[in-house]
């Protein structure tokens, strides 16, 4: 049972409002090491400096979208094994299938509650303390 405070997280979304919402939700769940990036390219720069244990990433983003970010993470040895949860819209079932092929750990359909966020993270890491 991992403590949320031991799991470092990178939140990737081009909307500041959405990043703030996710950060607030993570803080409610006990996460403390939370970093942010506004697109896939920035996310890769952050991860190269210091990998995190969990990436929560939007799909639709400028420069490098969530799917290509996932591919880049999985092909780069230092980041290959980190957990990746994709944030999707309601109509993105095809995307979910493609993300599964590239090794996504879970997905989260927007808009979501903190309880759902917790459930999706626990499905990857086990029950949080």
């Amino acid at each position: 049972m991992p403590a949320a405070s031991t799991i470092s997280v990178l939140v990737v979304d081009d909307q500041l409002t959405m990043r703030s919402l996710i950060r607030n939700g993570l803080q409610q769940l006990g996460f403390t090491d939370i970093r942010e990036a506004s697109d896939g390219e920035e996310a890769l720069r952050v991860l190269v400096q210091r990998p995190v244990r969990l990436v929560l990433s939007d799909y639709n983003m400028p420069k490098l979208d969530g799917l290509n970010l996932l591919r880049a993470i999985r092909s780069h040895p230092p980041t290959k094994g980190l957990a990746f949860i994709m944030l999707t819209g309601r109509a993105d079932s095809e995307l979910v299938q493609r993300a599964a092929q590239y090794g996504v750990n879970n997905y989260l359909v927007k808009p979501f509650t903190v309880a759902i966020l917790r459930q999706k993270i626990e499905q990857v890491f086990g029950a949080l303390t």
Binding site: D14, Q15, L16, T17, M18, S20, L21, N24, N60, P62, G89, K110, P111, F112, T113
Partner: protein, 181 residues
């Protein structure tokens, strides 16, 4: 009153919870708003625009988080749709309408919606060209997505109600229409 466009007009009504995006000159989007908010976004270079229409939860402290979550999602869907049609996020401009207080005595849902959309646009760096938010009268909004032109009419009922809630940014024309360029 003559129509300024010569092309045959295709009128599309945007209902609550939906959005529509177009770059066609003949398309005109319309909606009627009470407490709901409609955001009209436009990219003047790509000549594409879109309108959504959403109602957020009541605005006590707990529900505010829900409101922001659903509002942020509604805006994201509209913005992503515009980007797919060739818009550039950095060029997007906004006009927003609605958020009226429709019933005395109930919580001010409309006010919460208005606060949300102003904060969202400020946080996301999307310029707000014009707004007509609040008041107590319903609004009919028409928006031409390719040009970004918007027209507002108060439909709240009697003349008294219209006077109680005049449009703030611009003066109404004689026929009650307001052009929002």
């Amino acid at each position: 009153m003559t129509n300024s466009t010569t092309a045959p007009q295709k009128k599309i009504h945007v209902i609550q919870g939906e959005h529509y995006i177009s770059g066609e000159d003949e398309v005109m989007l319309s909606t009627v708003l009470g407490s709901c908010v409609a955001a009209c976004l436009h990219d003047p270079k790509a000549k594409v625009g879109g309108m959504n229409h959403f109602l957020l939860a009541e605005s006590d402290n707990h529900a505010d988080a829900d409101a922001v979550r659903y509002g942020a999602y509604a805006m994201e869907v509209l913005i992503n749709g515009l980007l797919k049609k060739g818009a550039d996020r950095k060029r997007l401009q906004a006009k927003v309408f609605g958020g009226a207080r429709m019933f005395d005595g109930l919580s001010d849902v409309g006010g919460g919606n208005a606060r949300f959309i102003r904060k969202f646009l400020a946080d996301e760096g999307i310029p707000l060209l014009s707004e007509s938010l609040g008041g107590t009268a319903a609004r009919r909004v028409e928006f031409w997505p390719s040009s970004g032109r918007a027209r507002l009419r108060f439909t709240g009922g009697s003349d008294v109600e219209e006077r109680r809630a005049p449009p703030r940014p611009v003066k109404p024309a004689d026929d009650g229409n307001v052009e929002l360029f």
